[in-house]
Point group: C2
Chain length 278, copies 2
């Protein structure tokens, strides 16, 4: 099938690699506002052809919107208005507002709201890698609002990417995503900011950063283009979980300040229960 990918960064580019290798895509068209990204994607072989948005939609059986959530929201209605029989999916990390936006669109059934939960801290077409999605989960939201054929094609797409498919209501998705994914990013951004402020002499960070610090701060390298709109979109859930997170830190601080060894110990043992799950 012919596929058009809008947004040729880590997410769209990594899909392109495996969809081609696994023969799910016959021809891949690429759309990107950033001409450097578009040309790079063409030059390194992620896409066959750079096209404008209109041509991209007309030429495709399946359109994948792989742009940050703010950009996706801005163009989604225009894309939906241009559809004949094409199927469209997006890959955004927040789903409620996107589903609300197109809820009453006459072509709603052509659209599948999805969120493949995979990524790295790098971005741009240079960051695209094979096997990014293998074995990970993808969430498909509000599937009853999509046609069976649209759903089948998008599930086949994620099947070709070797992903586990989970169905979820868009509102529930955004809540769980805040709890599991969005808060991890904020905790990591704040850690980087803290250490950079405290350690004016960067040599010490470099010398003393063990594997633990590197692992915890890794997500702080993530792109602001992608993440600022996510926090903005999902503000209610993010603030809710951030409040809980801050209160846990304050409890740690209180136990340390009052020399409450048992309290510190109990909190760590409770935290260790995460071993049961990941």
């Amino acid at each position: 099938m012919n596929i058009t990918i809008i947004g040729l960064g880590l997410i769209g580019g990594s899909m392109a690699i495996d969809l081609r290798k696994r023969k799910f895509a016959k021809k891949i068209f690429g759309v990107d506002n950033d001409i450097l990204h578009a040309e790079t994607a063409k030059n390194i072989g992620l896409i066959d052809e750079i096209v404008d948005l209109e041509t991209g939609i007309k030429s495709a059986d399946l359109v994948i919107i792989a742009t940050p959530v703010d950009a996706t929201i801005k163009m989604l209605n225009d894309i939906m208005n241009s559809l004949d029989n094409q199927i469209v999916t997006d890959v955004c990390s927040t789903k409620f507002q996107i589903c609300e936006l197109v809820k009453n669109h006459s072509k709603r059934k052509n659209f599948v709201a999805s969120h493949p939960m995979a990524g790295t801290e790098y971005s741009g077409p240079w960051a695209a890698i094979s096997h990014l999605y293998d074995g990970k989960s993808t969430i498909i939201c509000n599937k009853e609002e999509s046609s069976n054929i649209a759903l089948k094609i998008v599930e086949d797409l994620y099947g070709a990417l070797n992903m586990r498919i989970i169905h979820m209501d868009a509102k529930a998705h955004d809540m769980h995503a805040a709890y599991v994914s969005h808060i991890s990013h904020i905790s990591s951004f704040a850690l980087a900011l803290t250490v950079l402020e405290k350690e004016k002499d960067e040599k010490h960070i470099f010398n003393m950063a063990g594997g633990g610090f590197r692992s915890t701060v890794r997500l702080a390298k993530s792109s602001s283009d992608m993440w600022a709109p996510i926090f903005n979109q999902n503000s209610e859930n993010v603030i809710d979980v951030l409040d809980t997170y801050i209160s846990k830190l304050q409890k740690f601080k209180e136990n340390i300040s009052t020399n409450n060894k048992q309290g510190i110990n109990d909190m760590i043992i409770d935290a260790n229960k995460i071993k049961r799950i990941v």
Copy 2:
């Protein structure tokens, strides 16, 4: 040389493996209060012989104390009192109180305060692995308080473990360790506690936990036996950095609550500067 390792967990056990393989140790004696740990260490070949503390000291050229910092502080003076010409080092993550404790001991010159900055989230002799220390940094504190020969032997020890050696004042060490290492652990423990509280349905954590969450929460699996005493020992520095961390999170929250997209974006771009260093 004959080496006695007190504390046969991840840290001491991993040293034993490579010190033997690389022929730095001729014979390795092991001391551990926990009989299961001691016998496991013997059975899986980490040590040659289980001995009591007194025999361990008498039989060794070099004594490595690889117990949590509270246990180390409890026995350090007794160990120092039993020394003839043996050299002693410890591996604790906080160094100021340890150095204070032995500052005026008649055998102070036989002791080298060190902190090899390596580890995993696992513990016990079963967690011991080869190459744990390769390429990592070890901090030696207050070296002027050790004799040249003691320093030489301990530097050779870390040389055999392929570590980079950094010298630092004990007080400065504890401050930098709080900034780079201890805060990472608290941020991760608090993240686990938050997600476990928010996600009563653990299936969702399992399904939706991507590589990012796994990486950020990894340290939350760390042992309370090791970490509770560290936070306690280094409380002043830990509280100071925790205050900064909480204030960064509150700033994030404020920007998200007020829909300040530029503010969120700027914080993420500032956090991205960590790329220059790690």
